[in-house]
């Protein structure tokens, strides 16, 4: 069970949008599909994870499919869209102030645990103005921030956001660009360039590697990734093994599940990949 503060919870009382503040209103609002408290796998300490809706990637293994579409939508409450039951709205427009109010509720927990807020998605960089507002808000409040990102954004956006972020949780999926395009729908060229930029400008980065059997656990991909990260001087990798828990959501959203038959990796497979990275000199943690 997870703690949904937003629309997945059928009992949620919708947030009222704040009154318009002249022409700035569009900058202080964004679309969010969840706020989870007591997140303990998305960076240090006890955190609140804010999920921004909308993602330019189309990963086959995406475990937050309700975060892909940039607009609010609806999801069936039954096991799929054809079973009877109510549809629940997914995603809501929220003001930056409203999100900050939710974030600040748990600040004692952040203070005590060295935690903070993680912005995830979707792809948070796809709502750069809103994200910048929230990051600035956290900075003002002295709240640690982490950005869980695919890295897919223009270099201008990355350059603008990077100084506001304390820690990047940076997804790296596939080194071969052609395969990257096949499985995520976009090229990895910009992603790798942005990562290089962040590291060169001294940003704190943890690499997150979603381990998808048969797709990115080949020794070739692991070797290329190791070489690239070594070259950048990065030493830590978080291994996030594929799990099938999210599958139901595809059905409930009416989206295709292109990895329908894929089994999650077993302990041995996870251990093999972990050892592979460790032999390359990395510190590897399974789970975030």
């Amino acid at each position: 069970m997870v703690f949904h503060c937003l629309n997945i919870d059928p009992n949620h009382r919708p947030e009222l949008p704040l009154p318009a503040e002249g022409g700035l209103q569009h900058m202080t609002q964004g679309t969010i599909f969840d706020i989870k408290k007591f997140a303990i796998h998305d960076g240090p300490g006890i955190r609140t994870t804010v999920f921004l809706k909308g993602c330019p990637l189309d990963c086959w293994w995406c475990h937050n499919p309700e975060g892909r579409h940039p607009e609010p939508e609806s999801m069936a409450t039954g096991s799929n869209r054809d079973t009877p039951g109510d549809a629940v709205p997914v995603g809501t427009r929220m003001s930056g102030d409203a999100v900050m109010a939710e974030i600040e509720k748990d600040r004692l927990f952040y203070d005590e645990s060295g935690g903070g807020v993680t912005f995830s998605g979707g792809e948070p960089l796809a709502q750069p103005d809103f994200l910048a507002t929230l990051l600035n808000g956290c900075r003002e409040q002295g709240i640690h921030t982490a950005l869980d990102t695919t890295g897919y954004a223009t270099s201008e956006i990355v350059a603008r956001i990077a100084p506001l972020v304390d820690l990047f949780l940076y997804d790296l999926k596939l080194m071969d660009d052609r395969r990257h395009q096949t499985y995520t729908g976009v090229s990895n060229a910009g992603i790798l360039a942005n990562l290089r930029h962040l590291v060169k400008t001294g940003r704190k980065v943890v690499i997150r590697f979603p381990l998808i059997p048969q797709i990115n656990d080949t020794s070739e991909n692991l070797a290329q990734m190791g070489a690239f990260l070594t070259d950048l001087g990065l030493q830590r990798i978080d291994l996030l093994p594929f799990h099938g828990i999210h599958r139901q959501k595809y059905h409930r959203l009416g989206q295709p599940d292109r990895l329908g038959n894929l089994e999650p990796p077993g302990d041995a497979a996870i251990a093999r990949v972990k050892a592979d990275f460790e032999n390359g000199g990395f510190t590897v943690q399974v789970g975030g």
Binding site: F3, I40, L108
Partner: protein
């Protein structure tokens, strides 16, 4: 690390079935029938009864034991206390046959009751006197489930030993008594004669325990002579020497200290059947000087200290609570007798008190995995995380112990109540969660108070809808209220009325206990009964506090929130409609009931719309109770805990405006309504943190976590941080169940396969299969927290 000796003793204890023994009842009955006590003052009578039992009861020493002394003739053989409450033959049959928490009776027991004990005690018990004096309006409220009465089948106790016995032998106490007697001023003190009798009774009680220990010494010597194994013979001789030394003299070794405490414990629970048995309190603090000195001198190894502690633990487990029937059984339906071992916390001068022995005791808690004694850790901001995490690693194994307390909050609570800072720092929590100044305070739980029932009465013009009887003042029916403020005012009027009745009843009961049931032995142990020449039950202690324990905070808050939000704010339905729904138990209104349950702002979600109402309820209850005088020169305080009464209270309550159906359990402690908290543990702790813990004498918060959260060190770290954050908000106590619903369901299906599954109930742990089906269900329903 458990050796064969301990394994055998543990098995014997765990496997023993709780039974009833007529020994004590027969001894006291015979003494009274002999007429030898006639004409004696009541305290002297009580002391002579105590002496008579200890002089004549069977001395039970089991093979391999290191700590001796048993209340009954065998492990879990439980005496009865007919002077307090007389069991009928039907009660004995019920206790024998009931599927949960049975106490078996054999033919001897039943015959003794039928021929001897019932004929003598009929209409002569303290309970009879109580019910003869309690007025009808008290009885009506009691029958309606507005409150319970703790002293109805058990004597007041609710106290914890301080450090006195580790500094003084009973001969020293006798010397103190002699000095107090010598200082009596028969010219200027009109109570001097009463005091002389009381002090004389205490002196007899002290003498009686010394003699009881010497009976053990003789038996041990005899066993040593018979022992085939020379090593055991040597051990038995050593034990005999200990029993000749303590409690007469102060202890010098770790072993002597443990044996001394145990004799005292058996004394207290033999004299009468006080609530919460008795409790050594800050065990790691009291024993540490002995432990350290002996380890340094090489006369004690850590392994031996561990073994002695394990043997000590088994003694607690051999002593189930005295049998309870009726409402008392329903409010506290368990074998657990609530001796709560405290570890950690602060020293009297305010320093970190955690020591090597604190950790060793936690090892013992984990290894022994026994129902009794309960164990807790006191966590001050000054205590290291290592200690908290050690405790959480035991919690993680899933048996609900140790519970976790905030020392800094407890100290502030006690100081606010008027205790000295040093006395507060020497205190802790006992029973479930009750704050006390150990060794110096008599703090009586007088009964649970059904807060949601008060709202029901406020919605029904003071008439109990279950019986149709008018039991409260006329304050209007549901349809009469046109604004939330009027409704809340009616709630407050009903509250004041029933708190008055409860306190009036308590005054009667406290006076009866003071007059007819003094406890000279217990009075020896608690300061300043000797110096004051006054009994523990008559205000002899340095501090005297009476509690009324509020129950159902979450249910009441959510119900008020529902009325405010659904009726007065958004006008989803009218007050008469709500009244109709409740009267009909939401029959034909299921859709509306769901909407109400799901859309109402509810306590436990860090939502001020609900939490502000919780604060209003807290303030109303606090104003009604706190600071009112009791009969012992002390005052009333509130605390918020339920044991198992939330199930009983729920059974006495119709449907409530939060969507709860008639008869379902209430929320427990200060926990949210089961399943109403939907925003995770941090939101629950934030909501619970809005209770002003420092103005209570204890609050109880249950949290259920799924086991996988605590699978690794990160999970333990995060849980420790959750606890620390709650304590920064002055949270008093938190306890965890780490078990998944699936396991509990399996245990319901196949109880025999899950006999050893221990879960946290409320302020104590119990065998899951021993819980009533309602309570099992209730525990499953408590929200299990996961992490993102």
């Amino acid at each position: 690390m458990i050796n064969d000796r301990i394994r055998n003793l543990r098995r014997q204890s765990v496997e023993a079935q709780a039974s009833l023994s007529p020994e004590r009842a027969l001894l006291i009955t015979a003494l009274l029938q002999s007429g030898r006590l006639e004409g004696e003052a009541v305290p002297i009578q009580r002391a002579r009864i105590f002496r008579h039992i200890l002089e004549n009861k069977h001395i039970a020493i089991h093979p391999g034991e290191l700590i001796v002394g048993e209340r009954g003739p065998a492990p879990k053989a439980t005496p009865t206390y007919p002077e307090i409450c007389l069991h009928s033959l039907d009660d004995l049959a019920l206790l024998n046959d009931r599927p949960k928490v049975p106490y078996t009776s054999d033919g001897d027991m039943r015959r003794a009751y039928e021929e001897n004990i019932i004929p003598f005690w009929q209409d002569r018990t303290l309970r009879d006197r109580m019910f003869a004096q309690l007025p009808e309006r008290w009885k009506k409220a009691y029958r309606a489930g507005v409150f319970t009465e703790f002293q109805e089948q058990r004597s007041p106790g609710h106290t914890v030993l301080g450090d006195k016995i580790y500094r003084k032998g009973f001969l020293d106490l006798k010397q103190e008594i002699a000095e107090a007697q010598a200082a009596l001023d028969f010219y200027n003190d009109p109570h001097a004669l009463d005091k002389r009798e009381q002090l004389q009774a205490m002196d007899m009680a002290a003498e009686a325990l010394i003699a009881f220990a010497r009976r053990h010494a003789r038996e041990l010597t005899r066993l040593a002579a018979e022992a085939a194994d020379p090593e055991r013979a040597e051990e038995l001789r050593a034990m005999a020497a200990i029993c000749r030394k303590v409690p007469a003299h102060k202890p010098d070794t770790f072993w002597e200290a443990l044996q001394y405490y145990w004799f005292v414990h058996v004394g207290v629970i033999t004299e009468l059947n006080p609530w919460d048995a008795f409790n050594p309190g800050r065990l790691d603090q009291h024993l540490y000087p002995f432990f350290r000195r002996e380890i340094d001198r090489g006369t004690l190894t850590e392994a031996r200290a561990r073994e002695l502690l394990q043997a000590f633990w088994i003694k607690f487990n051999n002593h189930p609570a005295p049998p309870k029937v009726g409402v008392t059984a329903r409010e506290s339906n368990t074998y657990v007798d609530f001796a709560l071992i405290n570890t950690g916390g602060l020293t009297p001068d305010g320093a970190d008190a955690v020591n090597d022995l604190s950790y060793l005791i936690l090892d013992v808690v984990e290894e022994m995995r026994l129902l009794q004694p309960s164990a807790m850790v006191q966590i001050s901001k000054k205590n290291p995380d290592r200690f908290l995490k050690r405790a959480l690693r035991i919690v993680k194994t899933g048996f609900g112990q140790p519970s976790i307390f905030n020392t800094d909050a407890i100290v502030q609570e006690l100081v606010r109540q008027g205790k000295s800072l040093a006395d507060a720092r020497c205190g802790g929590a006992s029973g479930c969660v009750e704050s006390g100044a150990f060794g110096r305070e008599c703090y009586i739980l007088t009964g649970y108070f059904n807060l949601p029932k008060i709202l029901e009465l406020a919605l029904n013009d003071g008439v109990d809808p279950l019986s149709g009887d008018r039991i409260g003042p006329s304050t209007g029916t549901a349809g009469d209220f046109t604004c939330f403020e009027d409704l809340f005012a009616a709630f407050e009027r009903q509250l004041a009325y029933f708190v008055d009745i409860k306190i009036m009843g308590n005054n009667i009961i406290e006076r009866l206990n003071a007059k007819y049931m003094p406890v000279p032995f217990l009075s020896l142990l608690i300061d300043d009964c000797i110096a004051n020449g006054r009994d523990y039950n008559a205000g002899g202690a340095r501090y005297n506090t009476s509690y009324i324990q509020g129950v159902g905070l979450g249910t009441l808050t959510d119900s008020l929130s529902s009325l405010k939000y659904n009726v007065f704010d958004r006008r989803l339905l009218s007050m008469p409609e709500m009244g109709g729904l409740l009267a009909g138990n939401f029959k034909d209104g299921e859709a509306l009931r769901r909407r109400i349950a799901n859309e109402t702002p509810r306590y436990g979600n860090d939502d001020d719309a609900a939490d502000d109402l919780m604060r209003a309820v807290f303030e109303a209850y606090y104003r009604a109770v706190d600071g009112r005088p009791n009969t012992k020169g002390g005052v009333y305080r509130i605390n918020l805990l339920p044991t198992t009464v939330h199930v009983y209270f729920g059974s006495k309550l119709g449907a409530t405006p939060d969507g709860r159906k008639a008869g379902s359990p209430l929320s427990e402690g200060i926990s949210p309504v089961q399943g109403a908290d939907r925003r995770g543990p941090t939101a629950v702790l934030k909501s619970a943190g809005k209770v002003d813990h420092l103005r209570t004498g204890g609050t109880l918060l249950n949290q259920k976590f799924l086991p996988h959260i605590l699978a690794d060190d990160t999970g333990i770290d995060r849980l420790a941080q959750l606890v620390r954050t709650y304590f920064r908000m002055d949270g008093h106590h938190i306890q965890f169940n780490v078990v998944d619903a699936e396991t509990l369901r399996k245990a319901q299906q196949a109880p025999d396969a899950y006999r050893d599954l221990i879960v946290r109930v409320a302020g104590y742990s119990d065998y899951f299969v021993d819980l009533t089906p309602e309570l099992q269900e209730e525990i499953i329903q408590r929200t299990g927290h996961d992490a993102s």
